[in-house]
Subunit: 356 residues, 4 copies
């Protein structure tokens, strides 16, 4: 209820603040017998690690994960898997000047209202993107569950700073690569230029992330309220900076007619097209699940901004600290992880339906 | 877990099929002492009633709601409020020819896969839009809870069949009116013409619905996984035909820079703009909550379509039965109801935080 | 959260008051393909029907159940199963004198406190034993799920009005029969005499119910908080009038030594004894699940009692209406149903663990 | 769902094994603004610390708790409170001989069945009493929430190894003291003798714990399934070794008549007696909540026992390792903590009902 647990049979409970001792989580409901090591999780954490790439923060974190429970002799035991990543490169002093002012576009004001005037103002506290470490770590476990059924998830950036990749590029391939998880080097070069431009202007950028889940078995999703796309939308929109989510044709479907948008069924269990994006009536159809998420520009810009202090008086602030210029590309592994958590959970949930 | 319950403290459990005895629900968690009558609920149900307007189905349903529990002497008692609407105008025979074929764009195939080959094929069974009766009825109660705190929800159509209302019209006003919940008569006339065109072509249309919730107190929403917009996205995307959801600038935010997208705070608790759409860090900021949902065209077109039967053999079908030409406008009260359920639930949930 | 839903994958949501229109429920999560008819449910409802037997109320209710959803062509579809039983023999006037007084031993005072002074005082309203209709109806479905795995539940009364059946009788057999669900005619005759004695004194009686679930597969129950016996205790203690629950040796285990209480394992998967009552570490061991529940005497006695009115002033009341002299035997089918709901739910939940 | 999370608004998620790196938990839903330090939690942990008292294990653990999140400047922030206690005195080798045999009375066999043959056999793994560290730590926070409303919980042992304290002693007082949390020194001396006797016989002992919660406001508990005593029974029965739970008169109520068992209401909001044990209709009445739990003797006896190995072959084992002779007295703080978690949760949940 209190918002720090996600999932039904596969449940992640997350904890930690940006400048507290560390961040971590507990993943409950993972079946027994899955081979799992810290290295498996570390590989995914390294993809979202701070301090790398053209649009990155200056913060350096090793982000070394430690498994605290749930593993014995290299396999999961079916008991909760707890993991922990210590914060190492905290610099709470960077935020001293912000103790009594609210940064525009940040959670500061809303947390102040929600939590009765109490707020860990150091780097956003719980509202920091640093909490996504737990999502990525848990997602790595979910992906191992999915792989048993051959389900794989591809995620990449298809638009950055207003510059979209070409449609043929965005046919999601395994080629999505660092930096930016861009579909091609050519497009990555255009985005590099956009980054330089924004940096010079003391400004920040957003973009659009596309996700495809392949080999998803038909039958996942729980009508009527927990349709697969509804839970996926919940999952993606729960990531800070995401402002929109669509499945298949998404907003474009509003402009199609029924005869354009319907996907004819073919003999053999396939479909002639995938406008739907992999679900029918909220249940996976066996087609690829296709999602897109809109990511807003980072709120911490390197310009003076108008705001108010905790007493409501006008203030002008210039935000220090170390900030990414864009949530892209570090948000890509996070959205991929959330997709994995939803699909692995749905997979486990559907098992109750299998004939005895 | 099984998908037919929505909410945390205010929970709707829904039941019923299109051509079974009826549809209904149980709303648990409504505080005691709220004045509530069948007429209160009927008023909202009448807004989504079938059989009216240019884009409507021919199905006629009185949709008379009956309260079965939870009310005593005209007020809620704090116990579950059960309500029931009998199906009256069923014509299951219309669907006899569809017993062994899967309609493209419908849930048929996916339900068949999920539920082990078992399926109530009459009018979509549980996957029919008829289940939204329960959402609207429960939403009417949620709105009464919200009204105690002065929260009101406006919802309307801002784009239909590819024809968008003008930006100045879409400043959401209380003017949204039947038919279409269109922002102006001029726009409704354009949409009338689009309907005629589609009907002549045996085709169907989609559109975009906008929702604004006003006077929402700051502090609602539960970080990190149950951010207010995440739960709202879940709620809206759980409505059949919705393919995308966005909050505030939504997908447009991906193209803005941070300096354009940030909303400066003003002395007195306000903001200079509302690009965010009413939340910061997943918590309501006190600004209007602004949402948009993309609605796909109805899958039941009046044209022959290719598909397969339950044995995987190719079939050509022409769907009979009575079908709306667009889910707009009947989906508007449904999306409004889902928004109300989320906000009333969030309001009750936030009360635990109030100082003793 | 609000207390009217029970279960995890198999979830019962219940509604209805003693003297409102009726009582019913929604059972979500039943797998598709189970043969189910109103007659299946009616058979169990008839076991708890009012108006029969020596210790019974005078209230006459046909308790005819109607299925409103979730069934098609005689089998469950995997969608919510809603059922409804109309109240027919209401006599709210019997309670008119109790509108402003609190009956001792009843929920009246506590409901008044909880629900801010609002209360349906007619026959206890929601706090009436009449809500158990929904438990029994849902339990009938759960039992059909269990039967697929050969699990059966026996329940009977082993002590009534202070008169215990002999130990050899309480080896739970299928012989438990109406009235009282007593283990033998000899014991039932002793209890008849006790009923007459109590009736003459204007007093009421309690007793102890024993439940045995046979053929329960090993592996059910979720450590550490949802141990099988913990969820069973929750289920049984949630039935009005139950004041204690024990598993296996129960309170007697507190007086045994470890060497007396341990159950040695035998080759072939069995055990030399069943002091544990069928669980180890909160997980079913494959032995019979053995439970006992203590049932308090009915609070509505035919004697004048001291109490207070809603303004806190002293009152003397004599409760009218129609009341059972003991919750035994009508509570027996209710406790059996709750056991079935827990076990069927646990069975579905364990399926996620089965190897792919 | 997977059993390692407990609570509704105040939710504890627990993790850790007996001989893994450590044990801990995440407590979500604690309101902001509560003063909380590691010392607050340590004080309660010290009450259940191993290695002390006549009936104790030889295992030595400092059990130093570390807070990992949710606290800023000495107060809770409303975000998840994670805590961790490293295991220091593991001796997994003690259990090497048990890798392929099932200890009678332990979870070994049932875990093996549940988790598909996978099992951390070192000291019971997750099934060890060591997991109760998380319960006690979270309970310490719950108690601080309760103290704001003046609610206090007293718990002690009233029967040990078959020797009951006298009835006048068991009027629960704050006098319950270490060792045994016995009601008097005289009774503790009797129990000392019983311990020596059992130790000489290589045997173990059980007992009965009584709990009283005072100043609990009326109105807590959620009918019909989450009656306050049902959730309390769930909570207590979820603690390993507990085999029975009763409220108020408990099993004795089955032998009383209604006129004996009813508690007359008195002017001023009080009652003439408290047979009910503090609830009416599943809702707290404002009287003391009175609970009793039966604790079985420890399964690890110092005698040879018959059992089978993982291939089903007969084995005779003698359990090594370090084991308490009784779960009493270390279980007393655990049961107290579980009671606190339930009551604090119920208190937060009831706030939604407060008039606006």
């Amino acid at each position: 209820m209190s918002g720090n647990t996600f999932g039904r049979l596969l449940r992640l409970t997350s904890f930690g603040e940006s400048h507290g001792p560390g961040v971590g989580g507990v993943l409950d409901g993972c079946p027994a017998g899955l081979e799992l090591s810290e290295a498996d999780i570390q590989a995914d954490l390294d993809l979202r690690k701070p301090g790398r790439g053209p649009a990155s923060t200056g913060r350096k974190e090793a982000d070394s994960v430690r498994l605290l429970s749930g593993i014995f002799e290299g396999v999961t035991t079916g008991t909760p898997i707890a993991f922990y990543v210590a914060n190492e490169d905290q610099r709470p002093r960077d935020y001293a000047g912000l103790a009594d002012a609210f940064r525009p576009g940040h959670a500061d004001w809303a947390y102040f209202q929600k939590f009765c005037g109490i707020r860990d103002y150091r780097g956003g506290g719980r509202a920091s993107g640093r909490e996504t470490v737990a999502r990525v770590a848990a997602g790595a476990v979910a992906k191992k569950i999915l792989r048993r059924r051959n389900v794989v998830i591809h995620a990449g950036c298809v638009e950055f700073g207003g510059i979209a990749a070409s449609p043929e590029e965005t046919e999601l391939a395994e080629a999505f690569a660092w930096p930016y998880f861009a579909p091609s080097e050519r497009t990555a070069a255009l985005w590099d230029a956009r980054v330089e431009e924004a940096r010079a202007a003391g400004d920040t950028l957003g973009g659009i992330v596309a996700i495809a889940a392949r080999n998803v078995p038909a039958g996942l999703g729980e009508p009527v309220f927990d349709k697969l796309e509804a839970v996926l939308a919940h999952a993606l929109m729960s990531v800070g900076a995401v402002k929109g989510v669509e499945v298949g044709e998404g907003f474009a479907a509003a402009r199609l007619t029924g005869s354009q948008n319907n996907d004819p069924l073919l003999p053999g269990g396939g479909f002639a097209s995938n406008h739907a994006g992999g679900t029918l009536g909220g249940i996976s159809s066996g087609q690829d699940i296709i999602l897109r998420a809109a990511v807003k520009p980072i709120a911490s810009i390197a310009r003076k901004q108008r705001t108010v202090d905790t007493r409501g008086r006008p203030r002008e602030i210039l935000i220090g600290g170390r900030h990414d210029l864009s949530a892209i590309p570090r948000i890509v592994p996070v959205l991929s992880a959330m997709t994995a958590l939803v699909l692995a959970d749905a997979l486990l949930l559907q098992r109750r339906m299998e004939p005895v």
